[in-house]
């Protein structure tokens, strides 16, 4: 058995890989001590080789992982497992959003990441949901209930939050504000996709892919493009790392 571990900024993900199949996975909060958390999670597995990815990959590589790869490569490997022909991947992570472009063989040819701030990331959505009083699970469905075309203009998390608060105080319905927040993230993603270039099918990975409004708005803004996600979008990176472990 091979294990991939993705030490993200918000959660630690583990994927176990054997004979070309995902045979198990686990997701937990990163906690204050991601190293300890990782060891506890790994205790349930008995891998011959561990590959780490994510922001904590250097820490993991220093202490217990045999190898580390970047999230870019991990997502490429993981996404191709589910969608062997895909050439474009969008991943919204805790503190980064990424757009990755692959060649026919699945090699990374180009990628983009957000700049050094939380604009357009999962964390951005979390903060906006909390400001509006939604849980993360409610946030996307609530936005889908809006038919309005409200927009927020600021991409800076702090300024966007004050914009959201002033919209609330003007009496704009919360689902309309929720929709505006989603659209602002999507427009940023579309900007990155345009820079990198994209094919007719985009794999959406990372936990935000479970948000139905994000998926719908992304497909709508990229007319004619199919946006697909695997059953467990959160573990695509961990799965990619596990696949890499099996390669060596």
């Amino acid at each position: 058995m091979y294990v991939g571990i993705d030490l993200g900024s918000r959660t630690v993900k583990i994927a176990a890989w054997q004979d070309g199949e995902l045979i198990g996975h686990q997701i937990r909060e990163s906690s204050f001590d991601p190293h300890k958390q990782s060891l506890e999670m790994l205790a349930g597995f008995d891998p011959v080789r561990v590959v780490a990815t994510g922001y904590g990959r250097h820490l993991a590589h220093k202490h217990f992982a045999h190898e580390m790869i970047t999230e870019i490569k991990a997502h490429a490997l993981g996404a191709r497992h589910y969608f062997p022909d895909c050439r474009t991947i969008v991943d919204i992570g805790g503190q980064d959003s990424k757009v990755i472009s692959l060649d026919e063989a699945g090699r990374v040819t180009n990628f983009q990441m957000n700049d050094k701030c939380a604009a357009g990331t999962g964390r951005f959505l979390e903060i906006m949901a909390a400001t509006l009083g939604y849980s993360l699970d409610e946030f996307g469905p609530a936005a889908l209930g809006s038919a309005a075309e409200a927009s927020i203009n600021s991409m800076c998390t702090v300024f966007a939050e004050s914009e959201v608060i002033s919209m609330k105080n003007r009496g704009v319905p919360p689902q309309d504000i929720a929709m505006a927040v989603h659209l602002s993230v999507v427009s940023r993603l579309v900007g990155m996709l345009n820079r990198v270039g994209y094919g007719e099918c985009i794999v959406f990975s990372g936990g935000v892919a479970r948000n139905p409004c994000m998926v719908k708005m992304l497909a709508m803004k990229l007319d004619g493009v199919r946006v697909v996600s695997p059953a467990h979008p959160d573990i695509v990176g961990a799965l990619g790392a596990a696949i890499q472990a099996g390669r060596n």
């Binding site: 970047t70 999230e71 040819t109 990628f111 990441m113």
Partner: protein, 429 residues
Amino acid sequence: MVEFEVKAYPELWQELDMDVERFDKARQMLGNAYAAMYLSQRNRPGKMAYFDTMIAEIHGGRVQELVDAKKEGRPVVGTFCVYIPEEVVVAANGICVGLCGGSQGSIPDAEKILPRNICPMVKSAFGFKAGRICPYFQAVDFVYGETTCDAKKKTWEILDRLVPTYVMEIPQMKNKRDKALWLEEVKDFKAKVEEVSGKKISEDDLARAIKVINGKRLALQRLTRLRSHNPAPISGKDALLIEQIAFYDEPVRFAEKVNELCDELDDRVKSGHGVLPADAPRVMVSGTPMALPNWKLHHIVESAEAVIVNEESCIGTRYFKDLIDEDRKSMAEQLDVLTDRYMRIDCSCFTPNNERIDQVIKEYRQSGAQGIIHYSLQFCHTYNIEEIRIKEACQQEGIPYLSIETDYSPEDVGQLQTRVEAFLEQIRG
């Protein structure tokens, strides 16, 4: 960790009217950073010892030399740009020193006065003078400024309140009349240096100076050629350091020490001894200059087991790729070839600037690199926009390419690590 200290010269600093207490803290931080980033490197050439000493003496020994020179009546000119005709200063028996401008620490001082949305190099440099925390700024007769970008040319007006600042107009095109303008500017600059030194520059003086600076540039060219071998005989970090020191060391001594190092690197090349194995990814860096101690990108790349083999930058090949013909006898001819040489600099302030696009591709081939990282400081508009054309040229040539825009702060190091490592994965295939 290896012990390393940037030496303290409190009396000298006092004499230079520095903020001694604050500067001493900066000194300790620089020493620690240097030990961590430089002295921990594996397979370092032994002849790097001289350059380690130059860092240990950066706030003292070298500064003392400047102060002593000034006492002898020699002019000391502070610079920020490779567009200064330093031959003219050397001809007057003067000294050119690159000023401080590569550190986050001085930026808050600058932001008390300057706008925040300008490039970190201009802010850092201004802050060093405003905070009295750069001995070079304190030691110069005047600062030489130029019009290569808007942030600089307007900052000189404000900087002039703190230290005399002489500004030359750099042309922005390369037509005949632009060269004529530049020649006039060089003549005025010569008169200015003569005024400060109280000495007329003769043909012999200028001929000697051209030889001295050619010697420095030749040594740096030799170092760059040696880096093109695989495995690389020296790290990119060490080479960058040498290129940075080129701006403040005594030129004859510096050339000698670079050549001694190159002799050692020659032996390494012959025996196939490198700083990393031959299969380590080889990366070229292109873009805006990295003033000392800006080692951020090089450190990130080389900590990921890759090697930087070339800097297409003002701290890099743009500074030393062109020489001046040494065989001209009359002052008019000398100034003519000197002017020509400076007009060949392919700074992004020029438009059009096709020479630079060709130069990047040429250096990529010559250096045996496997990918290019374009490095641009935030708000450095000319480089940031020219990046579009560099990117297109790389796409056309099938060269793996990554563009980075950053500043001196450590806040994006984690993100840059991810991007650089992903780029190296791309190169490794």
